[in-house]
């Protein structure tokens, strides 16, 4: 399936996602330049991690205004798949493709370590290969990962089942107020959410960093594999 990885000035996980999609999952992958207003016919668009425009002002704020995001919006509205990882998630929020905002980690420090994620939904193109309630171990690496929104918006988010991943204990228990398990103080332990249509997913943890056996963890691969396989089905359906 044709996948596109967007490159903003300051993206630094673009090559990591590219590597997994291309060399681990054997997909047809291309980079998409932030100044282009086209997605070159990509079915799955990934907004990678990094520090687009240095994360100056607010993570993702400047990148959200770049030309390529117009094309990404149209793609999303047409039901196309969009995956935002870490900085990509922040860009999606700033571009208002998914609701809410990201604030600095409660510790006010950058944090790089493994966290445990509970899969809240498996009926999405990204998560259909995962088990309901499954607990994944996936690395995070961010300083601005505390998901935030007003109480009523959060309620709406839950009601629409837009919460896809939550930070939990290794056993899968909620621990929203425990920094050991909810590493950045995200509201309701939210680590990843989707749009109402379920075709746009934003998540703080980095699945591409745990997608090869040699790295000692492949929990991220199932998610990425699901996305590309679902993408191919979407593609098949369109033909």
């Amino acid at each position: 399936m044709r996948c596109g990885v967007v490159v903003f000035p300051g993206s630094n996980c673009d090559h990591d996602v590219y590597h997994v999609l291309k060399h681990v999952l054997q997909q047809d992958v291309t980079f998409l330049w932030h100044q282009d207003d086209t997605l070159k016919g990509c079915e799955l668009v990934v907004l990678p991690g990094g520090f687009a425009y240095g994360d100056y002002l607010r993570a993702g704020a400047m990148a959200a205004l770049s030309p390529v995001m117009g094309a990404v919006k149209r793609h999303a509205e047409a039901g196309g798949l969009v995956l935002g990882i870490c900085n990509g998630f922040q860009v999606l929020l700033e571009a208002k493709l998914i609701p809410g905002a990201m604030r600095r980690n409660q510790s006010l420090r950058f944090l790089c370590r493994d966290v445990y994620l509970k899969v809240e939904r498996t009926d999405l193109p990204f998560t259909w290969k995962l088990r309901e309630g499954q607990v994944l171990r996936i690395p995070i690496a961010h300083g601005e990962g505390s998901y935030e929104d007003s109480a009523e918006h959060l309620d709406a988010l839950e009601a629409n089942r837009q919460v896809v991943f939550r930070y939990v204990t290794p056993e899968g228990a909620r621990a929203d107020t425990d920094p050991q398990w909810n590493p950045n103080g995200a509201a309701r332990g939210i680590a990843g959410i989707c749009n109402p249509g379920g075709n746009v997913l934003g998540m703080m943890p980095h699945p591409e960093r745990c997608s090869e056996p040699i790295l000692g963890n492949t929990d991220g691969l199932t998610l990425l594999a699901g996305a590309v396989e679902a993408g191919s089905q979407v593609l098949g359906a369109r033909r």
Binding site: L65, E94, P99, R103, R104, Q106, L108, E148, D149
Partner: protein
């Protein structure tokens, strides 16, 4: 013309940085600090001279870029030409 834009986290949203600073202040012995809110300040030099146009433009900048209105409030002040800081 110089202007200052100030952006603060919304009242209802908790402000860990402000809290951390308040705690640090009392740790180093500053008494009587009720509350600290931590925000951002931008000093912007504009070429235009019309205050109203400037205000409009600055608010527009806030909505588009300088503030994230989901979690932040902003305010705009014109400082005239000398700039307000000392």
């Amino acid at each position: 013309m110089k202007a200052r834009v100030t952006v603060y986290p919304r009242r209802e949203i908790l402000d860990p940085q402000g809290k951390a600073i308040r705690d640090a202040l009392s740790r180093v012995g500053f008494a009587g600090v009720d509350d600290v809110r931590a925000g951002k300040s931008f000093e912007i030099s504009l070429t235009g001279e019309d205050p109203e146009a400037a205000r409009r433009q600055l608010r527009d900048m806030c909505e588009k870029l300088l503030a994230n209105t989901v979690v932040e409030d902003y305010s705009v002040e014109l400082l005239g030409n000398e700039g307000g800081r000392t």
